[in-house]
């Protein structure tokens, strides 16, 4: 199950952060997302020669915490997407697929003429669309 989803801007500021848990650990998830920015920085600044595609947006597993897995995605405009999930056995392909859908939703949201680039995303439509992407993700991997 996806527990947290974040869009992080150029100055490592959260543009959209939403947790999908019932329990009261939103703050902890914020910290996890925030810490994973370090890994993204490191990965972007020191790309490994062995990594197959340097231009790929999907950054892969950032780091496993004990109960969560954190995945990252970097758009061409250097906006970061971070996903925190509780599914410990999850396939990269699923995550990749999810990010692709989420990216499309993000592009639609920031293409809104009333959205100012670099500001937080407060669109309710975006929120609804994100929840509609998030829900089936949990079900797919569970099955």
């Amino acid at each position: 199950m996806i527990v947290c989803l974040a869009v992080v801007g150029h100055e490592n500021n959260p543009l959209y952060i939403q947790s999908f848990t019932e329990s009261d650990d939103a703050l902890k998830l914020h910290h996890i997302v925030h810490c994973s920015l370090d890994v993204i920085d490191e990965r972007v600044n020191n790309p490994k020669k062995s990594s197959p595609a340097i231009n790929e947006a999907f950054l892969g597993l950032l780091y496993p915490t004990e109960n969560y897995k954190v995945y990252g995605y970097l758009t061409n405009t250097k906006v970061k997407f971070i996903l925190v999930t509780t599914d410990l056995d999850i396939r990269d392909a699923d995550v990749r697929n999810f990010f692709r859908k989420f990216h499309a939703a993000y592009v639609d949201a920031v293409s809104n003429p009333f959205h100012i680039p670099g500001k937080k995303i407060t669109s309710r439509t975006f929120g609804e669309r994100v929840s509609s992407i998030v829900k089936p993700f949990g079900l797919n991997s569970a099955s």
């Binding site: 801007g9 009261d24 910290h31 925030h34 810490c35 920085d41 490191e42 597993l61 500001k119």
Partner: protein, 1160 residues
């Protein structure tokens, strides 16, 4: 890692035992220890100290534990693999009694080691001198007695250095081999039991594997050791569900302890072998295997403690293993998921160790609170000790002078564990772990992860009531979260900081943090903001903000006390303890109160009125009412105070007498709305008037001092930058909102003094140009006046010519200020020290004497042009209108004038040949095609030099003299006249040309003959300034001997009908015969007689004359028939110019006395 005894933390070292001859022991021990691999040696003084082997275990009896706690240390420190018996050669080859003693000792030793299968080596110590005295046969007998190979018997010579080294190294080899054999044999023995499955329980399986692995480690056979550790580990894992030997809690504790030990040994081997990736993978499996094995709920804290220890130990292992192994090694890919970056950092494991320890702490506290009867455990917890088996505990009972180990029940064990847990404070350990992690992350530039460690650390400090440490960390965290705009994290940290400052009784900090929290952007739309777990400040809801806001203002107004729950010390804001907050551009409180100040005009006259708008904005959730505002400027006379019209001015308000006080209808700040106040302002002082502070007073003892900012330069704080909110402009006029400045320029007072530059047209190069400057006072007296003069090139660039950089001489300066001469001071009272006069080529400074109203003063600038160049002359006068006020600012008058510098005269020259005379110059003929401008002169022939002088200026000039100065006095050429002083100065009007003729006769043949310089002395016609000299260098000339010279001769005039002679003289100056062709063209105006066309020969160094008789037929200026002379040899001809062939024909002989034509 310190939890493990030393022998477990270092790789095992074989143990040897030395017996007999104690004097050589230190020597041998030191040597064995220093070799690679080393051998530890224990020295036994006696031959009967080896512990005997215990009797074989009864196979039916179930084992009491998995691994004996001291088994490993026993093998490392007490049970040797090899015994070296040392005898002195005197004993061996001495009398029979001694020999018998040796044999007895040897037998005794053999008996004691036989049970354990310990290997034996023999040393015979001898002196270098006695080396050969020891008989072979005795040695052989000894060897047979000891039943050893010959190589295991070593003759040891301690008193001969080279021999000693040899002996020692042989000894080391022999002992090493024997020890290896011992460990291999022992390992095989145990292994055979494993292979035959000759064990009754799982415990034994694990134990045997462990033993074989240790023996393999002794032999440095890491691969086998690793394999057997793995076997042991897997066997142990199987035991978790199956073993029933002990009560469940203790059983799990024991299994975990053994697993820990096995895993530790494996990690050691892997990491020392540089196989970091495998070690990490193993660790992952290890923790995954056991994390879920929480155990019984009452001792759950033991599990977390154990898990935390796993992480900590692994981190330490990772840290101490070679640092270059920390990078991803290129080992074979692991089937599992690849570890991510952080898993190679010890910091990651430290952090998790800390978080599990924290978990343990929580569980322990819970467990303690649940078990109220811990105290009633009658102190028997003290008698619980670790038993002989790893991971087991039992009670030690004293029973009739003997100690009996009694097994514990689970209940008792839980009590014991709780009691133990209570004895230790884990917080410091947690902080230490987090600090390690924090430092490691910081050094690897993982700022945010380090911050998270810092946060946990600070929380721990906070829980310990160590507020100053906590505050320090929280402050740095708050900076990070502010910069990156993580609101919820910031909210939490600020909440802690608020509590810390409460704990430290710092009202100022408390108010600052509270105000910052209250004015944070709202996290609307996120469910997070209503999350309960947001630190001590509660959820980040609007209502919570309002509550915090109210609390802060209650404390600030002194309405409520700031009391910390822990310290019982209340703090109240009173007049003795006023609160003064300062908000500058980088302060996080800028959003709490932002003060923008804009003047409506950029400039104002002194004493003139200007409008100023002060705009205040606050993001606080509730309206704030300000009692009084004070606006401070850099000119303190302009400061003023704005009071709140709603509130009467209380007596406590500080209003200094003489200060301006304005009253505003109300001073209420609403959330995100500008409070705009516009007032007049007047300044008498010229210069910059800048608003510095806007100080708000709320209540009697609370002051907020805001640094004023310009609307033009405002930038949003990082927190608000990303927010979607209504953007409002601070000033109604949108132009001013974008460009308004907090400073205004107050102009200088209007000058009442004239500065006059008298220009007299363009300057001439070379002369000293005089420019009079007059200072005349109209309405101001002039005191301490200073005149500054600047010469600037109008086209930019310096006044120096490009060569000027190398040599700074007056020649290289195009224009220079030579002198400033001023009127002598009228009175002698003028102190000479008052006079300043500084003159540089392009700058001058001179002091102006004090002038009263209406007076004037003048000076003359002398400027010299070395090259024609227009310049800009800037003259500025600075003065004080009154002498009694030195603080007053100076008034400045500026004047500028462009002056052209022109060349006065242009000199040109021209060479001319004498009339009707043409020398043939071969070189000139050749060079005709080239663009060679060098003039060619004929040797020894007279040449005319015409110097023309043109007046280029706009004023008449008077020419005084002209001369040609040869550079070197020589006889190369003669010039007539050398110098001429004009008897009456020639006045040369603008544009006019003056010509002067000189004759030159070159005397030397040369290709580059220097003629010299023309120098012309002149002066302006208008005023009697000194004369100037202009020089002009004549170019070099070519002087050549003419080969042939042709001259035409004819009278200057003729009369109609009267014949006259027209002759052509050809002079051959060469040594050879010259063939000359000549012809004459017919002309209608003349009848001629003579050779019409002919070829003739001219003898060397002689002349030939062709003579024609002409009779003119026409009148006036007539063209003579053209004679063409051509040299065949040089293919060069003479074509006389038309001008030289003119003759005037009169109708009759005029009544003038004319000389006969031949004499002309």
């Amino acid at each position: 890692m310190e939890e493990f005894p030393e022998e477990l933390r270092t790789p095992p070292v074989a143990l040897a035992c030395l017996i007999g001859c104690p004097e050589v022991h230190p020597l041998i021990t030191a040597h064995l220890h220093s070799q690679q691999p080393p051998i530890n040696a224990v020295a036994l003084p006696d031959f009967s100290m080896i512990p005997p082997k215990k009797p074989p275990r009864d196979t039916l009896e179930p084992p009491a534990g998995i691994i004996k706690r001291d088994w490993f240390s026993k093998h490392r420190t007490r049970i040797p693999a090899v015994v070296a018996a040392i005898f002195s050669s005197r004993d061996v080859s001495g009398d029979p009694a001694q020999r018998l003693q040796v044999c007895n000792d040897l037998d005794k030793l053999k008996a004691s080691i036989r049970g354990r299968n310990i290997k034996l080596g023999v040393l015979v110590v001898t002196k270098w001198n006695d080396k050969d005295n020891t008989s072979e046969e005795r040695i052989l007998a000894l060897r047979k007695r000891a039943e050893i190979d010959s190589k295991n018997l070593i003759i040891f010579v301690p008193d001969h250095e080279p021999e000693l080294q040899q002996c020692l190294s042989r000894l080391w080899t022999v002992l090493g081999e024997l020890a290896n054999t011992y460990y291999r044999d022992e390992g095989r023995r145990v292994r055979s039991r494993l292979e035959k499955k000759n064990y009754s329980s799982m415990e034994l399986n694990v134990r045997y594997c462990f033993k074989v692995a240790i023996y393999a480690e002794f032999r440095r056979d890491w691969l086998e050791a690793l394999k057997l550790y793995e076997d042991a580990y897997h066997a142990l894992r199987e035991m978790v569900g199956t073993s029933t030997r002990m009560p469940p809690i203790q059983r799990l504790v024991e299994i975990k302890a053994v697993a820990e030990q096995l895993h530790f040994n494996m990690s050691m081997i892997l990491l020392h072998g540089g196989k970091v990736l495998e070690a990490i993978t193993w660790f992952r499996q290890h923790t995954a295997n056991y994390r879920k094995l929480v155990g019984a709920p009452e001792v759950i804290f033991l599990h977390w403690e154990w898990l935390s220890r796993q992480y900590m130990v692994f981190a330490q292992l990772l840290e101490t293993s070679s640092p270059n192994a920390l990078h991803v090694p290129s080992t074979a890919p692991v089937a599992e998921e690849k570890p991510t970056e952080w898993e190679f950092h010890p910091a990651y494991y430290y952090q998790l160790a800390a978080s599990y320890l924290k978990e343990k702490n929580t569980c322990l506290e819970f467990a303690i609170s649940m078990s109220v009867d811990v105290g009633s455990f009658d102190g028997s917890a003290e008698s619980v000790v670790a038993s002989a088996y790893l991971g087991q505990y039992s009670r030690l009972l004293e029973h009739e002078d003997a100690f009996i180990m009694q097994p514990l029940t689970d209940m008792e064990y839980a009590h014991y564990a709780l009691a133990e847990g209570k004895r230790f404070k884990d917080s410091f350990e947690i902080i230490a772990l987090l600090k390690k992690s924090f430092e490691a992350y910081s050094s690897s530039k993982a700022e945010r992860t380090a911050a998270y460690c810092g946060l946990q650390m600070a929380r721990e400090y906070f829980s310990l009531n160590d507020f100053s440490n906590a505050k320090q960390i929280f402050d740095s965290l708050a900076n990070l979260y502010r910069r990156e705009g993580w609101l919820l994290s910031l909210w939490e940290v600020l909440g802690y900081l608020r509590e810390c400052s409460k704990g430290m009784s710092s009202a100022k900090d408390f108010i600052e943090y509270s105000l910052e929290m209250a004015s944070l952007p709202e996290t609307t739309g996120f469910s997070e903001s209503f999350s309960k777990d947001c630190g001590p400040a509660g959820p980040a809801t609007p209502s919570q903000r309002e509550k915090i806001h109210k609390e802060a203002f209650e404390v600030a107004r002194g309405e409520s006390e700031l009391n910390s729950d822990e310290q019982n010390s209340a703090f109240k804001v009173k007049s003795d303890y006023p609160i003064y907050l300062e908000i500058d551009v980088i302060s996080p409180l800028r959003v709490t109160l932002l003060a923008l100040v804009a003047f409506h005009q950029p400039m104002v006259k002194p004493g003139g009125q200007s409008l100023i708008t002060i705009s205040l904005r606050s993001q606080l959730p509730i309206n704030v009412e300000i009692d009084q505002l004070e606006v401070q400027f850099n000119q303190s006379e302009c400061n003023f105070i704005i009071t709140n019209g709603q509130k009467p001015l209380s007596s406590t308000d500080i209003v200094q007498p003489g200060h301006r006080v304005e009253t505003a209808p109300d001073l209420v700040l609403a959330t995100n709305k500008w409070l705009r106040l516009t007032y007049d302002i007047k300044s008498d002082l010229s210069g910059k008037l800048e608003c510095i502070y806007v100080i708000a007073r709320v209540g009697p003892n609370f002051t907020i001092c805001c640094r004023a900012e310009s609307p033009a330069l405002i930038n949003d704080s990082p927190l608000w930058k990303f927010e979607n909110r209504l953007e409002t402009i601070p000033i109604k006029d949108p132009g001013l909102a974008l460009s308004g400045q907090k400073a205004i320029q107050v102009e200088e007072p209007e000058p009442q003094v004239d500065l006059i530059l008298h220009s007299s047209g363009p300057a001439l190069v070379g002369e000293s140009f005089i420019l009079p400057v007059t200072v005349s006072s109209r309405g101001h007296a002039v005191h301490s006046g200073e005149l500054k003069i600047n010469l600037v090139d109008t086209r930019g660039g310096g006044l120096l010519s490009p060569r000027g950089e190398e040599s700074f001489s007056s020649e290289n300066i195009h224009v220079e200020l030579v002198d400033i001469s001023c009127d002598a001071p009228q009175d002698q009272s003028e102190a000479p020290s008052d006079k300043i006069q500084k003159i540089q080529p392009s700058f001058g400074l001179i002091s102006v004497p004090s002038l009263d109203m209406g007076e004037s003063w003048s000076c003359k600038l002398k400027i010299k042009w070395n090259h024609p160049k227009p310049i800009m002359l800037y003259v500025s006068l600075g003065y004080l209108p009154r002498s009694d006020e030195p603080s007053l600012q100076k008034v400045h008058v500026h004047k500028s004038l462009q002056i052209e510098g022109t060349t006065a005269v242009a000199i040109n020259h021209r060479y001319m040949l004498p009339f009707r005379k043409d020398p043939l110059l071969l070189l000139k003929l050749k060079s005709i095609s080239e663009t060679d401008q060098t003039p060619y002169l004929a040797l020894n022939e007279k040449t005319l030099l015409i110097i023309s002088v043109k007046n280029c200026s706009e004023v008449p000039l008077r020419l005084l003299s002209m001369s040609i100065e040869t550079e070197v006095k020589s006889d190369a050429c003669t010039i007539q006249p050398q110098q001429e002083e004009f008897r009456e100065a020639v006045v040369n009007m603008p544009g006019e040309e003056f010509k002067k003729v000189f004759t030159i006769i070159p005397k030397v043949k040369s290709t580059k003959l220097k003629i010299g310089n023309v120098s012309l002395r002149w002066e302006r016609d208008s005023n009697a300034t000194s004369s100037q000299v202009t020089k002009y260098r004549l170019p070099d000339v070519n002087v050549e001997l003419p080969l042939l010279a042709v001259s035409l001769e004819c009278p200057p005039h003729a009369f109609i009908g009267n014949p006259f002679l027209y002759s052509v003289k050809i002079l051959n100056q060469t040594e050879i015969l010259q063939e000359i062709k000549c012809s004459i063209s017919d002309s209608q105006s003349f009848v001629l007689s003579g050779p019409h066309s002919d070829t003739m020969l001219v003898l060397p160094r002689s002349a030939q004359v062709l003579t024609y008789m002409l009779v003119p037929l026409g009148l006036g200026s007539l063209q003579l028939p053209r004679v063409t002379v051509a040299s065949v040899r040089y293919s060069a001809g003479l074509l006389p110019s038309n001008a030289s062939l003119l003759v005037f024909v009169y109708p009759t002989k005029p009544h003038v006395d004319l000389k006969p034509p031949g004499d002309a």
